[in-house]
């Protein structure tokens, strides 16, 4: 066991920290949020140049073959800088699924080059984060497959040019690939509370390419990994929110004193720090479980991580607003954006209730198996 960064990881960290400009990027982040895509295409091209978009593509398929910890380093930086680019969804989750499915090397190359944005669509109106609750159906038509059904709130979906979609194929869950301009596919794009762009998808016999059948466990692993990347982003966001708050306390005057003279406020910052460091530990524990062991152990550990992240995020970023007072409520201040991003993360791929239930079922709750 060794918690220190390798040389490559240290470089990666250095590189992303330089990119987000040591959290001076809020004006840029806000400008991107009001753009049509909700993020910067220029940044995305830069990511390709830096090799970040091929980091998680296996070497055999032309990538760097990085590990989840490496992507987590990038995501922590993105969290710090409120970077809204669809990194986790395209460059990790979609790239990973395409690599495992095989036969998609061209698309992987496009992802690596920054030319393709691929989003994973799993959530449905009645699924409540359960990946096995899939009402979208696939059937054979004209020698290929067509999809019928609907997906909602697809992360980074509004700017995606392709979608990976889970659908029921006979009795199992399969993954399909289709383009955003596929016939029979209707897309409704919109903003989420964190200013990012999601979409709903409606499939009316939309033709799609089968990527993988019997994909339940592959999908579950991919989404667990995506959750951990969001956890890393959350850790970066919390850290930035705490630092902004500590800085604010040192400058703001009330009742004739700087706020840093008020012990209840400084102790609140201490509690925020304690929750952040605990969340960071749980992120590492989740990454460890994703690196080996059984599917059940991984799922339980990821849910434990997410429970911690969600609880910490609500406290840390909520209190960051509280300690800023009125100005923390203003959209023109950065701190509220961390809060909103944390709340969005807390309801992507699973919420507190979902992760608690899943963790409980896989650990103490399973008394029949004990």
């Amino acid at each position: 066991m060794d918690f220190s960064l390798s040389d490559e990881q240290a470089m990666l960290k250095d590189s992303v920290m330089r990119f987000v400009g040591d959290r001076h990027g809020f004006d840029k982040a806000r400008a991107h949020a009001t753009a049509a895509d909700g993020f910067s295409r220029d940044d995305w091209a830069r990511f390709a140049e830096l090799g970040w978009l091929m980091l998680m593509i296996p070497e055999a398929q032309g990538g760097i073959g990085g590990r989840l910890e490496d992507a987590a380093i990038l995501m922590e930086g993105f969290g710090r800088g409120l970077v809204a680019a669809p990194y986790a969804s395209t460059a990790v989750v979609a790239a990973g699924l395409l690599a495992r499915a095989g036969g998609a090397d061209d698309l992987l190359a496009d992802i690596a080059g920054g030319e393709a944005l691929v989003a994973l669509a799993t959530e449905e109106a009645r699924s409540r984060y359960d990946l096995l609750h899939v009402e979208t159906e696939a059937r054979v038509a004209d020698g290929g497959f067509v999809l019928r059904g609907a997906k909602i709130v697809v992360p980074d979906g509004a700017s995606a040019d392709r979608f990976i979609v889970s659908a029921r194929l006979s009795k199992t869950i399969a993954l399909f690939l289709l383009a955003a301009d596929a016939p029979g596919l209707e897309i409704r794009r919109y903003r989420t509370i964190d200013g990012r762009r999601a979409c709903d998808l409606a499939f009316a016999d939309a033709p799609a390419r089968l990527l993988m059948h019997d994909a339940a466990e592959t999908l579950s692993r991919a989404v667990d990994e995506a959750s951990l990347l969001l956890a890393a982003e959350a850790v970066g966001g919390m850290q930035a929110a705490i630092e902004l708050t500590a800085d604010y306390l040192k400058t703001r005057q009330q009742f004739g004193r700087t706020l840093s003279k008020f012990q209840v406020l400084t102790h609140r910052v201490a509690d925020m720090f304690v929750k952040l460091e605990n969340a960071r530990s749980m992120l590492l524990r989740g990454l460890a479980a994703a690196g080996g062991g059984s599917a059940e152990a991984r799922a339980a550990a990821v849910s434990a991580t997410m429970v911690t992240i969600i609880q910490a995020g609500e406290f840390v970023c909520g209190q960051a607003i509280q300690l800023h007072g009125g100005i923390g409520m203003a959209d023109e201040n950065a701190v509220g954006h961390y809060y909103k991003r944390l709340r969005a993360i807390a309801r992507t791929y699973g919420d507190l209730d979902f992760h608690r239930q899943r963790h409980l079922r896989l650990t103490v709750g399973d008394r029949s198996a004990a």
Binding site: R128, I152, D194, G326, M329, A330, D331, H337, L352, D353
Partner: protein
Amino acid sequence: MDLSFSPADEAFRHEIREALRGLVPPDMARRTRQGFHPTKADLKLWNRILNDHGWAAAHWPREHGGSGWTPLQVHIFEEECAAADAPFPSYFGLRLVGPLLYTFGSEAQQCRYIPDILTGDTFWCQGFSEPSSGSDLASVRTTAVRDGDTYVVNGQKLWTTEAHYADRMFCLVRTDPDLPPQKGGLSMLMFPMTTPGITVRPVITIDGGHSVNEIFFENVRVPAEELLGAEGQGWDHAKFLLANERITNAHVPRAKRDLALLKEMAAREAAEQGGGLDLDEVDRRIAQLQIDLDGLEWSVLREVIGGSGNPAIASGLKIIASELQQRMTELAVDIVGVRGRIAYDEADLDRNDLPGNPPDYVPGLAARQLFLRATTIYAGSNEIQRGIIAKQQFGL
């Protein structure tokens, strides 16, 4: 000691409930339930409807246009209004400047302003907070310098709720820079928002909504007759308002209605979402909220009926109520699952193809949850309230 609601109280409740039936226009009721900031049109219309029944200022003494009801009757009335999904009438005229005027104002000022407050023809806003004085009113910097028959106002206000709805402002200003605020340095002026030199800048809050503003005053000339009471009484006026505010801000009637809606919402979501929602856990959270709301309600009843007037009690109500409002909307957003991530646009609400294809109770929740982070900050942050309790109750 008599801890029961009397038969007369119950009869009164029944009478009000009957009288309110059908009084709230259905689309207004829907907007109230959805929890976005109320529109000016809704506030105006509901004010007028209330006034037609003599209820606009139910909580005021009869001689000033109030109902003359007992405090318990007022409480019952407000509870029934909330249960009927009526919006809470605009705060600044009916709750703040109205009582200020009939307590401290001249007869001329009362005649000039009170009738239009009752009808809702004039909307007011409150110029208190400033960029450098959120919770610290003693540090107000906006100045009013006497120049013959007028005051000349310069400075800036922030977090001015409904300033963009308002016709007039009552405004805390420094009339004597040499006196400490608590000792006569502050005064209260009233003036139209159309007075030359006033600029209103919208401040968008984290929910994406526009309910507060920043106000700039540049040589705004206000006739001296618009001074409330005497020069230098501003601190007393502010204290009078803050004490009132902490109890009204408990918003028990609205919270009771919200909790009832929460229960309905949980049942519907559970039915429609096929088992994914952990209804047991939701029920536990609702039960705890119910218990805490019961406590808040009885604390408010003790205060409005018993009237300790203890500022520590009022501060405690503010703390409990603000945290309860936050917890309630947090639960509401949790209940609706992934749709709680969607930023619904108030302007789109009449479309039938909203993102996520949500049930009707969903669209306003996420924005309301975000906005309610302000409850523990505004009207004296909860940290300020704890300081008041420690000092007033325990001399700490």
